[in-house]
């Protein structure tokens, strides 16, 4: 209903002064903003809840994991492998988002940045100064409790630290839905592999 609305707003005004056309476009954009909020929420549910999406993700994940295995031989450490797997899973998840959300773009971008940062690690060690947590500071920062929590949420959702509050909530919505799907897919995958693998593999040191 809303979608059919906006074309009518745009097309029915035929007067062709460029200024009014610019205004019209801006107006319909702002109108679309508020429409998008409810649409994003409903769409994120539809996007991440279907079984088909989960299947696609699981198959893609398997593919990616296989490629990762081939590229880096298993050194035997589980934690590093686990981190690799988690990063791969996050990347595949972000890729399934098709770049429509901010967090997915940030996840895919950090891979590039991480590979660059490996060479520049030495530079960054001395840069940050840790803040001393004085009582006054604590008191001051406690006042806007909601804002503090929003900041924490911004840190949790990748790529959303300096994002406006309504957008942050939208991103968080989509991120939560995506994470749920990721957990479901990985659980079933792990279950599958655990069932198929002989017990000796699981108890291997």
């Amino acid at each position: 209903m809303v979608d059919s609305l906006f074309p009518s707003i745009e097309t029915t005004v035929d007067d062709a002064s460029p200024e009014s056309r610019r205004k019209r476009r801006r107006i319909s954009e702002t109108a679309k903003e508020t429409a998008e909020s409810s649409e994003i929420n409903q769409e994120s549910l539809k996007r991440w809840r279907t079984n088909r999406v989960q299947q696609i993700y699981a198959s893609k994940l398997v593919e990616a994991l296989r490629r990762v295995r081939q590229r880096s031989n298993d050194g035997g450490k589980i934690t590093s492998a686990a981190r690799e797997i988690r990063d791969t899973a996050d990347r595949v998840l972000a890729a399934s988002a098709r770049g429509t959300t901010r967090w997915s773009r940030a996840v895919l971008a950090t891979r590039v940045r991480a590979s660059l940062k490996k060479h520049k690690k030495a530079k960054l060690t001395g840069a940050r100064k840790p803040r001393k947590d004085t009582a006054a500071e604590r008191k001051r920062s406690k006042l806007p409790a909601v804002e503090r929590k929003l900041k924490i949420l911004g840190r949790l959702v990748p790529g959303c630290r300096k994002v406006t509050v309504p957008n942050l909530l939208d991103e968080a919505t989509d991120y939560i839905a995506a994470l749920e799907m990721q957990v479901r897919a990985m659980e079933s995958l792990a279950e599958l592999l655990a069932a198929a693998a002989p017990r000796s593999m699981l108890t291997r040191p």
Partner: protein, 328 residues
């Protein structure tokens, strides 16, 4: 006074616009017969019957837009005739001031700007169009604070301020009519709408009211989900050495003997997870999510075995055990 009526009923005019989820509820309470009041300062409003005569003449698209949304709301205004709107609409207005202004605030930003553009271009300089433009401009100024994307037609604004006696912003009863507060209220509406959606998404948040508590829950939930992913990736790391060799074989085998093979293993994971000290909410939520995935296999895709009845056999008993143990 006339304009007040008109202003208030503008709420209905913008019903078509965004924020449907919030405003649809409000719209249900609104009476379209309020609508005629919009141009009441110089118009005649027929009882509740409205036709798009005025709008057509003014070049406005409102009937069309309404047609899309409700299909029955139209405005009939005949220019040049200042008559008092029937008193009933006024009374009704006061009856639902809250809803009107809520809708009003949201809608006016959208529609007003739109109509302003259209009205501007209109050659007729009827009083209605002028005054409606003024009202549009005035309201646009309020909305601008929030959106910062509208063009600032200063000439119109000054023309507005000269005739401010006509323009009243219909705020909620007992609330400030400040442009700031209206914009602020709209912003809060947006945020609360999204928080409500998050409340539906995050399990166990129905009873929590207030942003701080909700945010706490959301943060906890996101953290628990991320921890789950970490744990699962570690688990996958233990079994993944076998990925290269026989992943296809595994899947092929699974499809054939899925129900049988998974039963012995099914007992392990819940206990394993619980014993490893992971918080119960994580374990809980993990299994809760698995429940919806009980569907018939529709394709021969090896990975389709994720969704077949094996999950039912596997998880149901486990989930029940888990729930009983956790006292959920």
């Amino acid at each position: 006074m006339m304009m007040m009526n008109g202003e208030a009923t503008e709420a209905e005019l913008f019903l078509n616009c965004a924020d449907m989820s919030v405003l649809e509820r409000q719209r249900a309470q609104l009476n379209y017969h309020h609508l005629p009041g919009f141009f009441s300062n110089s118009s005649t409003i027929n009882g509740g019957e409205i036709d798009d005569g005025f709008l057509a003449s003014a070049g406005l698209d409102l009937p069309e837009i309404y047609g899309e949304v409700h299909g029955d709301a139209r405005i009939s205004v005949s220019p040049g005739n200042i008559t008092n709107e029937s008193g009933n609409s006024k009374k009704r207005k006061f009856g639902c001031v809250d809803t009107e202004t809520k809708v009003f605030n949201e809608k006016k930003k959208m529609m007003m700007m739109d109509r302003e553009v259209e009205v501007e271009e209109e050659e007729e300089k009827s009083k209605i169009t002028e005054q409606s433009t003024k009202s549009i401009m005035k309201m646009k100024n309020k909305a601008k604070k929030e959106q910062n994307s509208c063009s600032n037609d200063s000439s119109k604004v000054t023309k507005d301020s000269q005739r401010t006696d006509y323009i009243h912003v219909r705020a909620r009863r007992g609330q400030a009519t400040d442009s700031h507060s209206i914009a602020e209220r709209a912003r809060r509406e947006k945020i609360s709408e999204r928080m409500k959606f998050l409340q539906d998404l995050v399990p166990g948040c129905e009873k929590i009211t207030g942003k701080a508590g909700m945010l706490d829950e959301i943060i906890n939930y996101v953290q628990s989900l991320q921890r789950q992913v970490e744990f699962l990736s570690m688990k996958l790391a233990t079994v993944s050495p076998r990925l290269d060799f026989n992943i296809d074989d595994i899947f092929a085998k699974e499809v054939v003997s899925a129900p049988m093979m998974n039963l012995p293993n099914s007992v392990m994971p819940p206990h394993m997870m619980v014993n490893s000290g992971y918080p119960h909410d994580m374990v809980n939520s993990g299994y809760v999510h698995f429940n919806p995935m009980q569907q018939v296999v529709t394709s021969s895709d090896p990975l389709a075995c994720f969704n077949n009845g094996q999950s039912a056999t596997m998880w149901d008993s486990d989930v029940q055990n888990l729930y009983s143990s956790l006292g959920v």
